[in-house]
Symmetry: C2
Subunit: 341 residues, 2 copies
């Protein structure tokens, strides 16, 4: 089975191109470079098994923050990945339609579990034989967004044929208009939420499934008790209740995203999509530019099957944006000398 | 399916008996009440996905600390529980022999996955039809220990009949003499290690499987990438390399255990087993004593099916041991007035 090349592999880049961590500008992920400020944590949070009170507090916070209805089940997992791993085991294997190109772990996990993968570029291409559908909304890496109404119709169709629809909303925090969170309690629908990306705390490993009570029970049983660490639950409860600090945090992310667009525009790089956390750029020699940027100690995300796309994460601040500007100038200059005329 | 009553449920005890957290002496778990001191953690540990370098460092530390051979696969999981959940999926379901009575999550997970449970009170009772065997060594709650040589023979038998043996060494840190860690690379053998109990960091969620490369691959694929949080990996790498600090830490745990035995002996309570982290006491009216201790704000662990057993975790220090002494005096006095003569 093929291996997936993930972003965030700064270690690999350093071993290939040299330099130490502090030399590099790592824009290879879709993770907010500013971590939400951590609360004070009692030593009990580390010492004891995460208790029911702590879990309930985090889940209640998630319900309010994501806007899930009271009857919707919310399941906490050690990262959305742990939930992605379980999706293929919801029903006996069959055909799964993956609307893409998109984040590869979905299809990878379904394939490992014996499902046949049907690649679809839009909802219209989903075959009626599909027992499961996966869509990332907004999509990674191109930011393509599918309307709520269309997804709700699809969820109903899937439920009617005893199948299920997985909507991965890992990048929806800043784009709530098409989120299905409010409807996630419906039969046959599973909405996945990533805590670490928007909150800049991917190291914590925390994700949520918003779903029907029946599916919630299945997922909780597969994950078992104490699936999520005490610190992750305590930090999530704190962050979800962030109030004005949360608004200011979101606003700083918007500023970051604007800085990124300005730098890209200044170099004539065309943004063809993205979300609040990354931009997808079209460039004839994207792989060459990726390599050239690595030589300048900037790590971006290239795509094996898309030789003309490059994904840029957001810079932390003006200082990092200026660094990116300078290094892009050098990288483009060096690369253009090499590229075929 | 029945629900398991776990230790550590101080919340439930408070809602039933009253008091706030600081009033209580929680001896209901087998977790070291002293957390190993945390290292300084860079904000990167929280912000980024746990990288390969960090994972490798923690796994190398685990290999040395547990004494696993170079060819043995080591898999990190968000708590031993996450590994216990996966054991029944290693092979098609059949019969599993559980040597017990023991920690109930093993049989619970196998039963949910469709396995037939055979309860055995010793290795001799394991039926040849068993496709899997689970043994906790030393056992929880009675501390019963099975010899390495016998377990190695059993592991070989299980491998010969295409089955597997799970040895849960959650409480073996202070009792390494019968550990199979050094042999865990053998086919059909899985040794489980809990990080949080001895190191007093159960909130972290970290456990390891020591096993054959083939089984290691299966477990890693089921868990998926970034299964363990960055803080957990950083803290484990730090703790495993603890050197003299680790020796002193272990020695303080021994002192704690001695304090517990002294208090129990002073009240004529008979210890019938245990490990460095807990003592199992035999008492005619164990459930009554549990209730009476709760009224004195001491939480111990009772067992539904063993009306004459009570498990005591270790007190943190002399101060907590003195508290236990006083409260045991009051609890026994109050209880004896109620018990049938």
């Amino acid at each position: 089975m093929k291996k997936i090349e993930h972003g965030g592999a700064l270690d690999r880049a350093m071993s290939q191109y040299g330099g130490v961590r502090s030399d590099w500008l790592d824009l290879s992920t879709g993770i907010n470079p500013e971590p939400f400020h951590l609360p004070d944590m009692s030593s009990d949070i580390w010492n004891s098994l995460p208790d029911e009170g702590l879990l309930t507090k985090a889940l209640n916070g998630a319900r309010t923050y994501y806007g899930a209805a009271p009857a919707t089940a919310i399941v906490a997992a050690p990262g959305t990945q742990a939930l992605i791993q379980l999706m293929p085991w919801m029903k006996p294997s069959g055909e799964v339609a993956v609307v893409g190109p998109t984040y590869q772990e979905h299809e990878f996990c379904f394939a490992k579990a014996g499902w046949a993968i049907r690649h679809c570029s839009s909802l219209r291409e989903i075959p009626v034989s599909a027992g499961a559908v996966v869509i990332v909304n907004p999509n990674n890496p191109d930011g393509r967004s599918v309307d709520r109404a269309d997804l709700l119709k699809l969820a109903e169709e899937m439920a009617n044929r005893q199948g299920f629809l997985v909507v991965d909303e890992a990048f929806a925090d800043m784009h709530p208009e098409n989120s299905l969170a409010a409807d996630a309690g419906k039969k046959g629908l599973i909405v996945l939420k990533s805590f670490g990306k928007f909150f800049g705390l991917a190291g914590l490993r925390l994700g949520f499934a918003l779903t029907s009570p029946e599916t919630g029970l299945f997922l909780r049983e597969r994950l078992g008790p104490w699936a999520v660490s005490g610190p992750a639950l305590a930090i999530a409860a704190h962050a979800f209740a962030g109030g004005e600090a949360l608004d200011a945090f979101a606003s700083r992310l918007q500023t970051r995203r604007k800085l990124l667009s300005e730098v890209l525009a200044a170099h004539g790089l065309m943004e063809i999509g993205g979300t609040a956390l990354f931009s997808l750029v079209r460039h004839e020699q994207a792989h060459g530019l990726h390599d050239s940027l690595c030589r300048q100690r900037v790590l971006t995300r290239k795509f094996e099957h898309f030789a003309d796309r490059l994904r840029f994460g957001v810079p932390l601040d003006r200082n990092d944006a200026d660094k990116l500007h300078l290094r892009l100038t050098l990288a483009l200059r060096a690369a253009q000398a090499d590229w075929p005329k």
